[in-house]
Symmetry: C2
Subunit: 404 residues, 2 copies
């Protein structure tokens, strides 16, 4: 039995609720066999766990590890050249015509072996851990061929087994239409439904099925068919919705009972209302809109006020969000979306867990929950979004074991 | 004689010009006695410096160290609580009425000893170095009393002498009107001109004199009087101009022959024209507008196209820009202001040196210049703004000595 006692803590933010009850000043935390055993006054815990390994936090802050509920972390190379073109004002469609954009990642991923992708992704997961992410969803969607979608999901499976970052796999064959099926949309939708989904389900390689619903990509009719086919094979629906144009994505997600509707940069009033009265989590990805140079973010404040369950995630991917920095996502939420720091922290932990249907307690700190936590070198949790752009993490623990 | 040879370099970005001639692929760099001795083909340099200490860069990128030409790095405590209020929509004026805002930093700095401020600032300069900043301007302006302005500038002097980060001091007694002179503006302007400037000049504690010209703070008439008084005592003028409202700041800076006009979020067309036809550097501070939640940044592209000399800087301060992350400033410039990555890099190095009238070669990599440089763990310089929010610096050298 291994016990760790975190002492000299300035604040423990439990993320059990979006009010000050979540913030425990000068408490200690004990973890036993990978789970949280107790949170309480230091003298009590020291007496109760006299032989525990001690982690002295020098007045720092403890929060749950981040639960990043939306990433595309399995990919080949970066696309920095494309960023330079975009900065010079070359439109995305022109970049795509020149062979860039998502299809560049598709060609690249298809050309790489599973082992190569494991190696590339492993380094990125290390960086995600250093940014405090202890659980992450990872989507396929740069394969767009049955064998390459399965390859991507096997990469996720292997890296999840390897640990320490826990991964939740999502099948997203409907991320884009591959170059070779242009003009034959229905053939590709058919392939996704008839071949990919059964193969993914058969191999138990995904928990969720996701579709990129956006004008010019998949339509609402296609999205519904694909997600229903996924659900029939046990894959829970998620939906890329209303990122750049309002297209009824949030409403469709609710109608389908989707676990989450993601992006929502241009969600309609009806979409906000629908989400607020549903179990579908509103997953906001402001780092993407930031990087793409947009001025308008998702209406985070309105979603919170309407009563929606909100998650914040990185959308980590090589095209539109090449950063796994979740703390910076909190800054975006506070500076540009009307969150206060506690609401933002909650959305990136407990909210992320909701968006992944994780029910073992991850995303909050309470007795019985996995001891996934971050020790921050700050004296107040509000410094986490405030002192942005500098990694103030002093250590990360995954199920009670120090991993950073 | 100590010689360091940087080999296995993917790219050296010299920042001599904003075109591809600045980017040398697969070259090596030799530094001798703190200065750059040569940049050229690796086999040539290896033959020329056979006994040099070798730094193998694993295919990484070398750039000049950042020259951060606008910071307020001498301050007491952080103001994260105020950020949380602002995120909830409390206006700045209300926060100021509650005792927050810049006057909170003034009260705090006045209450601290010089030694205490040295210690607090030293830790922040370490973080600036870790972010690749090898030269930084630092302003006073949280004292707003002669003794406290002098104290702040002595902190800068001591830390500059201590090194390794080189600091350039700016006197900014005209940062705000202190609480005790409210309603007696002319008394405070008189104090700045008659007492502070002579004392600062006498003690040789500053190179520049800066004024916060903005509606509600100092007027153009006051700014002109203060900057002219400074100039008469040898302090070169800088001007906080047009951050939140167009107020003729850029034009005034040019009329006064100021070294730089800083912020420029709302510069007028006439201001752009004036700067483009002057020696005054346009210093842009997008991290501030980002953090404050503004949607509109300074017209960087138009300033570049008009022919202005542009610098990018962090504005590092506890109120509106609590981040010394210069790479993230480059991301803001590329994603939101129409810079390409090379232009952004140039503005944060050579541009910063111009904004500080540094003429010893810092800000670019060429034989004879100080060997202030960053080794990045990226294979292409365009990844520096692209992979934002993650510190990809593998090492920092200051005058030929490794400091990070």
């Amino acid at each position: 039995m291994s016990t760790v006692l975190f002492s000299d803590v300035g604040q423990i933010v439990t993320c059990e609720s979006a009010d000050e009850r979540s913030v425990r000043a000068r408490h200690a935390l004990a973890a036993e066999d990978g789970c949280i055993a107790a949170i309480g006054p230091p003298e009590e815990l020291v007496a109760r766990y006299p032989r525990a390994e001690r982690v002295r936090c020098a007045g720092g802050v403890i929060t749950p590890g981040f639960v990043d509920s939306h990433t595309h972390a399995v990919f080949g190379c970066w696309r920095a050249g494309e960023y330079a073109l975009r900065a010079r004002g070359v439109p995305y469609m022109e970049i795509a015509r020149q062979g860039g954009g998502i299809n560049a990642s598709v060609r690249d991923l298809r050309a790489r072996s599973e082992d190569e992708l494991v190696q590339l992704t492993r380094a990125r997961l290390r960086e995600m851990l250093r940014q405090g992410i202890t659980t992450a969803e990872v989507k396929s969607g740069y394969g767009l061929r049955t064998e390459d979608e399965l390859k991507s999901l096997r990469v996720v499976k292997r890296l999840n087994e390897e640990g320490p970052l826990e991964l939740v796999p999502t099948f997203m064959g409907a991320h884009e239409f591959p170059a070779e099926t242009r003009g034959r949309r229905s053939d590709y939708v058919h392939l996704v439904i008839q071949e990919m989904i059964p193969a993914v389900a058969e191999a138990k390689l995904a928990v969720f099925c996701d579709v990129f619903l956006e004008p010019g990509v998949f339509t609402a009719v296609e999205a519904r068919r694909i997600l229903e086919a996924g659900l029939a094979r046990g894959l829970l629906p998620k939906l890329h919705a209303d990122e750049l144009e309002p297209s009824g994505g949030a409403e469709l997600a609710v109608a389908l009972g989707a676990v989450s509707a993601d992006h929502l940069g241009r969600i309609s009033d009806a979409g906000i209302h629908a989400l607020a009265h549903s179990q579908t989590v509103a997953t906001l990805l402001p780092a993407t809109l930031f990087f793409l140079g947009h001025k308008q973010y998702a209406p985070g404040r309105r979603l919170l006020d309407a009563g929606a369950t909100v998650a914040l995630a990185t959308d980590f991917n090589p095209g539109s969000a090449p950063s796994p920095n979740m703390a910076l996502v909190l800054t975006l939420a506070c500076s540009h979306m009307g969150f206060d720091p506690l609401e933002a922290l909650l959305a990136a932990t407990a909210g992320g867990a909701r968006a992944l249907r994780i029910e073992d307690g991850r995303g909050a700190l309470r007795p019985g929950a996995p001891a996934d936590l971050i020790v921050w070198g700050v004296s107040d949790y509000r410094e986490i979004p405030y002192r942005y752009g500098v990694n103030m993490i002093r250590g990360v623990w995954k199920r009670g074991v120090r991993v950073v």
